[in-house]
Subunit: 352 residues, 2 copies
Amino acid sequence: MSDWRTYVRKVEPYVPGEQPKEKNVIKLNTNENPYPPSPRVAEALMEFDYDELRRYPDPESTILLDALAETYHVDKNQIFVGVGSDDVLAMSFMTFFNSPKPIIFPDITYSFYDVWADEFRIPYETKPLKEDFRIDVDDYLVENGGIVLPNPNAPTGLAEGLEVYERIIRSNPDSVVIIDEAYVDFGAESVFPLIEKYDNLLVVQTFSKSRCMAGSRIGYAFGNPELIRCLNDVKYSFNSYTMDRITQKLGTAMLMDPEYFEHTVQSIIETREWTKQELQKLGFTFGDSKANFIFAKHESVYAEEIFKALKEAKIYVRYFKKPRIDNYLRISIGTRKEMETLVLFLQEYLSR
Amino acid sequence: MSDWRTYVRKVEPYVPGEQPKEKNVIKLNTNENPYPPSPRVAEALMEFDYDELRRYPDPESTILLDALAETYHVDKNQIFVGVGSDDVLAMSFMTFFNSPKPIIFPDITYSFYDVWADEFRIPYETKPLKEDFRIDVDDYLVENGGIVLPNPNAPTGLAEGLEVYERIIRSNPDSVVIIDEAYVDFGAESVFPLIEKYDNLLVVQTFSKSRCMAGSRIGYAFGNPELIRCLNDVKYSFNSYTMDRITQKLGTAMLMDPEYFEHTVQSIIETREWTKQELQKLGFTFGDSKANFIFAKHESVYAEEIFKALKEAKIYVRYFKKPRIDNYLRISIGTRKEMETLVLFLQEYLSR
């Protein structure tokens, strides 16, 4: 029977990490920042006049673009903003990945890439990471319809050297190469300066991790002005006004406090390194994460078992029941106190 | 030469109404509400704890869905929410309009419909409105890949009787029929109760007009649970977290004050009717608008001339340089005082 169901777009949606509604949980499952946004954000919130809400926001998000341009020393026509980096990535896939050739990305990576490819009916091929979860550069020097690579990769936390990304970008002038830098501020080197050199490079970042504002939904991308214009054309053909008035102001306020940003990022890095030491003592192994999470497996206990035990103790981490990584836990870095609680629990649990 | 530009999605973006940055203008060009949101929204804003922003929002926007379900007496699985009704409509086009047959909509209507069709490569046909800007029902009783119709229509402001929409919905069981009710609260009859009767009906509404919150970006849709599930699957394959934490709370607060909503809507309707009388005295003609704008032409002066004169006087209205409507002005209904200023200016200008 033919009815309206025949022509519905059928998709298998991305499943985000659990957002438990109960209080008093230690939430280390979605790579959120354990610190609140800068006090400047609280001030901007207090100062916001609710009467403004009756008017549409500035469709160009000028204040936020200006603040990003100043922060990163680029022109504002080299920046695109969206409703979180997922929105920026979705728009980018739609804009740049329209070749009949497959786009390529690693087999172990952000699990939204294949969802977007399916949603937009983009052919894709995944390239297996090596045994040590590093990428094999040669995999990305083949014909393709586009490339997307995270720096550092998720959920592994591993970053390649700048020269690796540059070689891939340089070797693919016919494709747009998207480098997804959601976690870059926690210790990897950003490829962002390369936008001045390569017109096929788009670098995507977010306020959700290092800038403590996952709840506000702000993502952004850097690229040469032509690339950004293409992206804006597609965005303006989708929704003129995506960034609401309050979010534009709060995001701008966050950028006005670089000291706070640097200080909180540094704390997270220190806590990560401390946690690595403690986990190692407990028999965990992991790569050298440059992100705000550790991707670890235990020498003798199955990840899924540990995951369940932690959840019962109201400590949420992320477990992916997927080939090659189903014996790993992705543990976000919380406050030092939260990580101490985690470590104490694991000490006790593993010594049983 | 083949390079990355070859496979960029090329689109002709929608151009939103001007958002002048200067102050002291009378802004009657984007159908915004002249009144602020309910004081409940101001309270919710004051109470918001900025520390929450470090966490992702509830991806399901549960509090907002619950408040909408209570307001409209439907189940929450019959509701979809998005970043303004443009986001809801874009997602709906992407979800439901995938037939090789063309979708259909009027030639004079919301000028985003053809933009979305182009963006998503959906074939479409426009059906000319009759001389009096009414739709010809027979136009919508033909084979099609989907139908989108506004109730009331924009920029004409004209609403059809419920039986007209119902006939179209009933006659097209193989297509999803989207009724875009951005302006319905200002005097048209909503088709929304028909979602219980027809599983191919999606009714889209917004907080941007009657609910005074264009700056917050909240749109929603009603439909049977199966339709809503399809829409959610596509949305979750695009961006898990679209509604930020503050917006979810402020939208919920707005729904908690139905008296304020009814009172402000009533004021706008009264001001509209007063403005109609005054414009008529000045030689304007227009249909019986059921929206928060009047679509008017003058008996002797060209619309574009009046538009320019108004703009010089810092009164912004909307003018579309398009076939059939290039001698009309779309004038949003502001406060009584704003409309008095408009009328006074026109009295003087037209008597020159």
